[in-house]
Amino acid sequence: MSDTQQIEDRGGPAQPLLIVKGLVKHFPIGSVFTGKQVVRAVDGLDFTIDKRETLGIVGESGCGKSTASRLIMSLIAPTEGEIVFDGDLVGAAGGISLAEYRRQVQMVFQDSYSSLNPRLTIEESIAYGPKVHGTPHREAGERARDLLQAVGLAPRQYARRFPHELSGGQRQRVNIARALALRPRLIILDEPVSALDKSVEAQVLNLLLDLKEQFGLTYLFISHDLNVVEHVADRVLVMYLGKIAELGPVDDIFGRAGHPYTRALLASRPSMDPTRRRTQPPLVGDPPNPINPPSGCRFRTRCALAREICAEREPGLYEIGAGHQAACHATQADSGYGDSRRLAA
């Protein structure tokens, strides 16, 4: 494909592409009977994404992954917190405008069917974004066909088809092409392969890796499938109940996990390799209610290592290796964890 990405790299390579600061989203719920309550879907996220890296976000259902992605996509307004895109504060005077930010950040959704308008042809769906941003119809159509080629769908065969005539994998390729159509720099992939069968999943993942090279993209890859994240991510962020449990390079997370939650997640996945099997019990039960999270450490109710200190004080994000942080008292000698009596967990 000759149509290469023109990146207006403003901050230089050392400037993170995305900085998320204190991102909070509380959904108000409740009625006159129950009083006002809030669901703490995302409760204080701080992280950065470097240029051309893939940050994987993993966590159980309901941990706030999707809310986080929609916040970063600015589809919903945060309760608190700010987003800095390549050094520019999003939506602020002197920063980057919301419209421009939306052009530079695009999203691929999990459900490949509901993310395509059933009444538009594949080409129309892909060309819609550029047309909205003022690209002439013809040029937008050409770009759509180029992108179809880039995602491995022959334009002559597919451009004029409708979504229901395509398979799930083909539709997800179209969604990827649609996300690329605005020449974004950051793509949020919200469980992009979770609905696909394994052979198609591998093809789409490899396509994503190829496109990343080809267009110099940065990915925020959200998934609950640890194997997939291990395959695609450079760094991994483990979320639990709206907060960061652990954040670090992919090899550290998968090899030297510091947080008991991460270790439990890793232990819960079936391994083909006997030497990698772990002795720790997998997680039991469901995450606590985000309306009323536990005091102190949020994971303590399901944690095998929980002690008194964990209920009293919320752990910070402690540095446990180079660029590797974990929110667990047990990783710290001076946290007051060492001499406390064990809680009946």
Binding site: L75, R102, D111, Y128, Q170, V200
Partner: protein, 300 residues
């Protein structure tokens, strides 16, 4: 790394269907309709009726108000009067044909107006969401709480008899249910990922509504409105029956049903003819709307 993936982009396993390359949405709907015998049959009946009614002055053997008292209540099959005569000696066939014009008019017009008005309000409510939605829908609920026939009778009664007032009262009756359907369909579409994706591209509200919302909600709302035509005809006939709709001597099926009431024992067949017309039209409209609904379901 525990999993290795093959490199390179391969085509997906599912081979593309070859035959339907130029298959547009409406062509697919048309093809599915062609397979639906009941809908086709009912559609044909409706079209035949519409044509007969439209050309009533040419088709009808007599004028709708021409009558002679000496030919009163002739049975069906009387020479010269295929469907007999009514209580004032007017030719039933001619009156039914002419009456259909009134019945269809007061049946379809309120639904058409309500489709435009209620559809717009409902789409606005569904797309806006939040407080605007709340305000519109709660006001709608107030109207919705009345039984439809009662509301029509009340409005029509306070406005007075006459065809215009009957149409207005029926329109008021049909706006709230159409708002509700339009609102729920729009809310559903608005929350689908493709609407979110459109917002994520930075598209404005107008573009999203025109490109993504309208094409996906108009069909279901239209189908629902079609199903109301039968009801509308019945209620309009009911208004006429109560003396609130069309006034005699104009022929209208509901009114004819009313005036022929006294003949129910002497000529039961003739007395029920207008009712049969109302019934057939209403049932056919319902079957056609059902068929449309099935045919327009993309995933079917």
């Amino acid at each position: 790394m525990t999993t290795t993936y093959s490199s390179g982009i391969a085509e997906d396993a599912a081979p593309p269907k070859v035959a339907e390359n130029d298959d547009t949405y409406w062509r697919a709907v048309g093809r599915r309709l062609m397979r639906d015998k009941v809908t086709l049959f009912c559609g044909a009946i409706l079209m035949l009726m519409a044509a007969l009614i439209l050309f009533a002055p040419l088709v009808a053997p007599y004028g709708p108000t021409d009558g002679s008292i000496v030919r009163r209540l002739k049975p069906i099959g009387t020479p010269g009067h295929l469907l007999g005569t009514d209580e004032l000696g007017r030719d039933m066939l001619s009156r039914l044909l002419h009456g259909g014009r009134y019945s269809w008019f007061v049946g379809i017009t309120p639904v058409a107006i309500a489709f435009l008005v209620g559809g717009s309000i409902g789409i606005i409510a569904g797309f806006a969401g939040g407080k605007i939605n709340m305000a519109i829908m709660r006001v709608t609920d107030v109207f919705y709480a009345f039984p439809s026939v009662l509301l029509a009778v009340a409005v029509s009664g306070s406005l007075g008899a006459g065809i215009a007032n009957a149409i207005m009262s029926l329109t008021i009756v049909f706006i709230p249910p159409i708002i509700r359907v339009a609102e729920s369909v729009t809310t559903g579409v608005r929350n689908l990922d493709y609407a979110e994706a459109a917002r994520a591209t930075g598209a404005g509200a107008r573009s999203i509504v025109v490109v993504h919302i309208l094409p996906n909600v108009l069909g279901p709302i239209f189908v629902y409105a079609t199903s109301l035509v039968g009801v509308s005809m019945i209620v309009a006939s009911g208004l006429s029956f109560l003396g609130l709709g069309i006034k005699p001597p104009d022929p209208e099926w509901g009114l004819m049903l009313n005036t022929l009431r006294s003949a129910i024992y002497s000529q039961p067949m003739i007395a029920t003819l207008p009712g049969i017309c109302i019934f057939m039209t209403s049932v056919c409209f319902n079957f056609v709307s059902d068929g449309l609904r099935t045919a327009m379901d993309v995933r079917a």
